[in-house]
């Protein structure tokens, strides 16, 4: 990993900062969202330059996949009135100068503390690498996530579950008019979905000894699920089957934790000889759950047009944009 600064890094940092600002300050929210998606792309390049390929994989899978899809879908549902914003959304008004000063002050203090860092900074690299043999995997990041700090990752899967429970709790949203099935999207799905599943399985498997892992695989699968929903709409409400898969990853992780506490040495203490297999089982279950959760977050809960659910008091049907008029001659 070339640790010294290249011309490449200077250009990348300038682009990142310019894009970061434009993604926040562009008056047209659609432009802001597109710039945010590209910001995610360049951010994964930054993770690569800093020697964090695992993080780069996750950023790429999330940024190019789910995050972009969620933002664009929300913009569409907000419609014209919702997506409109003031001409200078972050313009410096008297009220905002306080915030600006606070942000700049914080930045100055952070710079000072960054400059004060000792030249030699060992971090926890050595202990993590020494214990690697007993962790059951040879990729130190996967070892940290699934063994050293497995308790964090278990709660993190809980956070994902809560997000989808939150979406389910909200009432069904007014349904977008269903565009006609699109043969081209169908082709896209037929070609990409099998490949996505294969590569996701590959990432899950390779995660043990090289950058990859359950979360990156799940984010990829989720993007496949997004394409599926676009081509052939899914409904992922809290039905028994969907709930079972959503809770699968968390339940398997917790069950393994309890089993190791009762039988073995303690909560989430994996015997070194079986650690690799246990981690793979947990990751496989987590990948399926996280993938379905992410697709459910994108699909949300739409009230079928015929559903006689509780009508919205602010039934501003005009705000809901029509997708491109269906049935137009291709």
């Amino acid at each position: 990993m070339a640790a010294e600064v290249q011309v490449f890094d200077a250009v990348l940092v300038v682009l990142l900062l310019w894009l970061g600002w434009r993604a926040l300050a562009s008056a047209d929210l659609f432009k802001a969202v597109v710039q945010f998606i590209v910001f995610g792309l360049l951010l994964s390049l930054a993770w690569v330059r800093l020697g964090a390929p695992d993080v780069a994989l996750a950023e790429a899978a999330i940024g190019a996949g789910l995050a972009g899809a969620l933002l664009l879908d929300t913009l569409a549902r907000l419609g014209r009135s919702g997506a409109a914003d003031e001409a200078r959304p972050l313009g410096l008004t008297p009220a905002r100068t306080g915030i600006a000063l606070a942000a700049l002050g914080l930045a100055a203090l952070l710079v000072a503390s960054a400059l004060a860092l000792p030249e030699r900074w060992p971090g926890l690299a050595e202990p993590a690498l020494q214990q690697l043999r007993a962790s059951g995997v040879s990729n130190p990041v996967t070892a940290t996530l699934l063994n050293y700090r497995a308790w964090d990752t278990l709660l993190e899967v809980g956070v994902l579950m809560l997000a989808v429970l939150g979406v389910w709790i909200l009432e069904a949203e007014p349904a977008l008019p269903r565009p006609a099935p699109d043969p081209m999207l169908g082709l896209l799905l037929r070609v990409l979905l099998p490949l996505t599943v294969i590569v996701a399985g590959y990432l899950l498997w390779v995660g043990a000894h090289a950058p990859g892992g359950a979360f990156q695989g799940a984010a990829l699968l989720a993007a496949g699920g997004v394409l599926w929903h676009l081509a052939r709409p899914l409904s992922l409400g809290p039905s028994p089957v969907v709930r079972a898969v959503v809770v699968l990853g968390f339940a398997v992780f917790l069950a393994v934790g309890v089993a190791t506490a009762v039988l073995g040495g303690g909560l989430l203490t994996f015997p070194p000889e079986h650690a690799g297999a246990i981690i793979l089982v947990i990751e496989a279950a987590a990948m399926l759950s996280i993938a379905l959760i992410m697709v459910a977050l994108f699909v949300g809960r739409e009230r079928a047009p015929s559903d006689a659910g509780i009508p919205d008091s602010a039934a501003d049907a005009s705000a809901v944009p029509g997708a491109p008029n269906p049935g137009a001659a291709p």
Binding site: G123, P127, L155, L162, G166, I169, P238, V258, L267, L268
Partner: protein, 455 residues
């Protein structure tokens, strides 16, 4: 059952209950919730007993030593908070059992606990039962938070708690979406500031374990900046006086059991972390006395301002929300006195005051808490604290009697008071009795709090 086994049980029971509730679906979720509550209370009592007998319980998750691994620790304060959370949680579970209805098809107007927020219509009955998995995950997050000794792990538990609280507030239907969204934005901002502080501490001392950090802590720009960022982040999440504006609308529009859960439990977690940081970690820094003093002052303002606002409220739930803001003020004062005159006295005050919402009249636990607080204040010579606490108590008494008087007055013609089913009344009564019991049981609680107290 050894101490560490009790600790693991306390952690796992709510999470396993959430899995069961989610799998059980609408029909079985209530049963799963009630069963988990019972088991959880039992586990919390066993753990408290183990801590009283055997001192601080420690579990290194995965067998990895700190700083690489995460260590879970149960000292006196943590055990007391777990006990209190379990007991109040059980009360909320019973109340929610009736409020959300056994079969989940709950009629928002069948209870006199005030209409569920301005929306007037709760989330559709089909998703009301999701209260149970979300509430159990929130309880699991609280237990994980009280037991965690690792700063980044605390960040994950705070997020889990935050999202659960947002989902609970959203239960009140579309009208509560704005309140839930405001709460989500602020709690995310609080978490970001908190994790920025954790990053600075990790940069300075290459560890995220609280005890290890306390040994290695040297005053410096990074450490002071980290302390400031983490404190600000937690102040936002705990709705302490200047940053409390998200609390009343979030509670006001939430269903009764949710607003009880939010004000009694969720908001206190942020305060617990502040206490943990300033008593255990940053308190050791030279000249660190200034921050608790500032927090104490904020607490005083919260007590007075919260009390006045509560008086002006017309809706019961809004009054409770502002009384929560006031009550947090007492805790901040307790934190200040704790950092000064020994953790135990004020810890006891804090613990006792959690139990109930009562103004601290003689028979109740609240009184014990306030008395201990005044006693600590007198010993520390902080006369202003004494004045504030007394004034606060008067205000609290005023707005509570204001509410009670309305209850005894004859109902105005147009308002028909719906008949309240037995269970919620019993749950509320039980919690009040617990508050009274605390008055009697003050001594063992005080001893519990001294176990493993840092100072």
């Amino acid at each position: 059952m050894t101490g560490s086994a009790a600790l693991v049980t306390v952690l796992v029971v709510p999470l396993a209950g959430a899995v069961a509730a989610l799998l059980a679906g609408r029909r079985g979720a209530v049963a799963a919730g009630l069963l988990t509550s019972a088991l959880g209370v039992a586990a919390a009592f066993v753990l408290a007993g183990a801590v009283l007998a055997g001192g601080m319980q420690r579990v290194a998750v995965g067998g990895w030593a700190v700083p690489l691994g995460i260590e879970l620790r149960a000292d006196g304060l943590a055990a007391a908070m777990l006990l209190m959370t379990a007991v109040i949680g059980a009360g909320i579970a019973v109340y929610a059992w009736r409020y959300f209805g056994a079969a989940g098809h709950h009629d928002p107007h069948d209870l006199a606990a005030g209409p569920p927020g301005p929306a007037g219509k709760a989330a559709p009955a089909s998703t009301q039962w999701l209260f149970w998995p979300v509430w159990l995950l929130a309880w699991g997050a609280l237990n994980a938070l009280y037991l965690s000794g690792d700063l980044f792990n605390l960040y994950v538990t705070l997020e889990l708690l935050g999202l659960a609280a947002v989902a609970l507030v959203a239960l009140a239907g579309a009208g509560a979406a704005a309140a839930a969204l405001r709460y989500l934005l602020l709690t995310l901002l609080g978490s970001m500031l908190y994790i920025l502080g954790v990053e600075l501490l990790y940069a300075a001392h290459q560890t995220m374990d609280l005890l290890q950090l306390r040994e290695r802590l040297q005053p410096g720009l990074s450490v002071w900046l980290a302390a400031a960022l983490m404190t600000t982040g937690l102040l936002v999440k705990t709705a302490i006086f200047p940053l409390h504006f998200w609390l009343p609308p979030a509670h006001g529009s939430a269903p009764a059991p949710v607003s009880a859960a939010l004000s009694a439990l969720v908001v206190k977690a942020g305060f617990y972390l502040l206490a943990r940081l300033w008593l255990d970690l940053f308190g050791a820094l030279p000249g660190a006395g200034v921050v608790p003093a500032l927090l104490g002052a904020l607490g005083a303002c919260a007590v007075l301002w919260g009390g006045v606002q509560a008086l002006r409220q017309t809706r019961l739930k809004a009054m409770i929300a502002y009384s929560t803001v006031a009550q947090l003020g007492y805790l901040m004062i307790a934190l200040l006195l704790a950092s000064g005159a020994g953790g135990a006295a004020a810890g006891a005050a804090g613990g006792a005051m959690h139990a109930g919402r009562d103004p601290g009249l003689p028979p109740t636990g609240g009184f014990v808490g306030k008395f201990a607080l005044v006693e600590a204040a007198v010993r520390a010579g902080a006369w202003w604290a004494v004045a504030v606490v007394l004034a606060g108590s008067l205000l609290a008494a005023a707005f509570l009697f204001h509410a009670l008087s309305r209850a005894f007055a004859d109902a105005p013609a147009d308002k028909t008071s719906a008949e309240v089913p037995a269970a919620p009344q019993l749950a509320a009564l039980a919690l009040a009795l617990v508050a009274v019991a605390l008055a009697a049981a003050g001594e063992p609680l005080r001893r519990l709090l001294t176990v493993g107290a840092a100072t």
